[in-house]
Point group: C2
Chain length 242, copies 2
DNA sequence: CCGGCGATTTGATCGAGATCAATGCCTAAC
DNA sequence: GTTAGGCATTGATCTCGATCAAATCGCCGG
């Protein structure tokens, strides 16, 4: 079901000479020499909540590994309506290979730390390393699956089902354990109500009302608006529409 | 904007020894020897409208090149609600590399002709040929872009904007020319009202009403319910919400 | 030509979620 | 502690699209 860990071709984290983080993710596909070469070109960057990594239709300046935090991918309409079309968590790889322009805008949803690489260095490496390309293909296939799952949610679920699905999605990222039995899970939402609404194709008021309903039904606890406790995750699943 | 043609690593169509069609698409990435080997394992299949290529959560029996027709990718909820999460046209490649189960069900929306290959043969070839993997990555990235574009439509557009966007999408597949100036385009819809509704996250009645509205506004002509004429495609764009 | 059947259109009504409008809550500055 | 300002909740109302129901169209077989 969840092949997230499968994205890492190598499970051995590698110490980056530039940003001093231990990389996993796509970098695991490289051999030692390639890694050293790549990491000499890397830079560690810290981004505040709301900071823009790549603007829509802007030239892409590089690629990045997310070390911590959550990045949202946004598409907007000319009149200002917005839809979040993807969420990226560590250790996802950020960037659009073989395209000079981005179709989406990428923004930090929380404080984010990335290790970024110049476009040219990564693309040269992709040409050399089928392993890296294989790794990118796997991540892209996973993102495609996630996008299609979300299309079902956007097109066919009710507001209540959408919010329940969202909570389960986040709970699963925080703690990828199997929540089919009844262990409690607690976590902080990495997004504001407005961002949740833009992810679910709803308004903030509707998101708030559905959370209230779930709270009153005793399925979730909400504290300080961001902190969520699921006493019984499998019960929440019955609200998510499958 | 549209890098569809870019998917074909080679522009030279190759005659398939088995199905006697000239392949393009992903097969273009192979060298002559590899092609011959692959094509000896291929079979040409004709599928009636509605035929299922791959069921949800079924084992994937193989891969296929679409030679003609339209294939819809469907995701469903336990209670029967359905969402079309992707459309594939010739010469798209059909299949989910590196996964034993399909996350979606694939059905023929029109009569479809495919040239199918056994799973094993294709996967062996992917291992040998970085070119093929590169080609698959490009197709997957394009599908991801399309999925994300459609998420914006599903989450944030009105029913009228959705229907207008759908007509422009189909018009663009039929004739990938630039429709920004005012040349008329005519085509047959490859899908029923129910399928359009399942693609747009609407009901058949709403789809029908929006088409009627566009017809009364003089933006489109509708004949025999499937045949559409856009006298002025750029005018339809103003209805699509950007 | 006629009847039948599925697909589509049109009509009437309903309701989920949007919109408009307060009100309440948490944090930060002073 | 007090106040200001951004977020979130709650309430009242409206609207778009769903639902229920009834024609109408198009096509095929007799």
């Amino acid at each position: 079901m969840n092949d997230r860990q499968d994205v890492h071709t190598s499970d051995v984290p590698v110490l980056c000479v530039a940003c001093e983080a231990r990389h996993r993710g796509v970098c695991g596909a490289l051999d030692a020499d390639q890694l050293v070469a790549l990491m000499k070109t890397s830079t560690k960057k810290r981004l505040e909540t709301g900071a823009e990594l790549v603007g829509d239709a802007e030239a892409i300046e590089g690629y990045a590994n997310i070390l911590s935090g959550v990045v949202k991918l946004i598409k907007g309409l000319p009149d200002g309506r917005e839809q979040i079309v993807g969420l990226q968590f560590a250790p996802d790889f950020l960037g659009r290979p073989f395209q000079s322009e981005s179709a989406v805008s990428a923004q930090a949803a929380t404080n984010v730390v990335v290790c970024s690489f110049p476009k040219r260095a990564v693309e040269a490496l992709i040409k050399q390393s089928p392993q890296l390309e294989h790794s990118l293909l796997k991540q892209t296939l996973r993102e495609l699956d996630e996008a299609r799952n979300w299309m079902l949610t956007l097109g066919r679920k009710s507001a209540l089902e959408k919010v329940a699905s969202y909570l389960l999605l986040i709970a699963n990222y925080i703690d990828p354990a199997d929540h089919s039995h009844a262990e409690a899970v607690a976590f902080d939402l990495p997004m504001s109500r407005l961002e949740i609404a833009d992810f679910l194709g709803l308004t903030i008021e509707t998101v708030s009302r559905q959370l209230t309903k779930l709270r009153i039904d005793g399925v979730i606890q909400v504290r300080q608006s961001r902190h969520i406790v699921l006493d019984n995750p499998s019960r929440l699943k019955t609200y998510s529409g499958g």
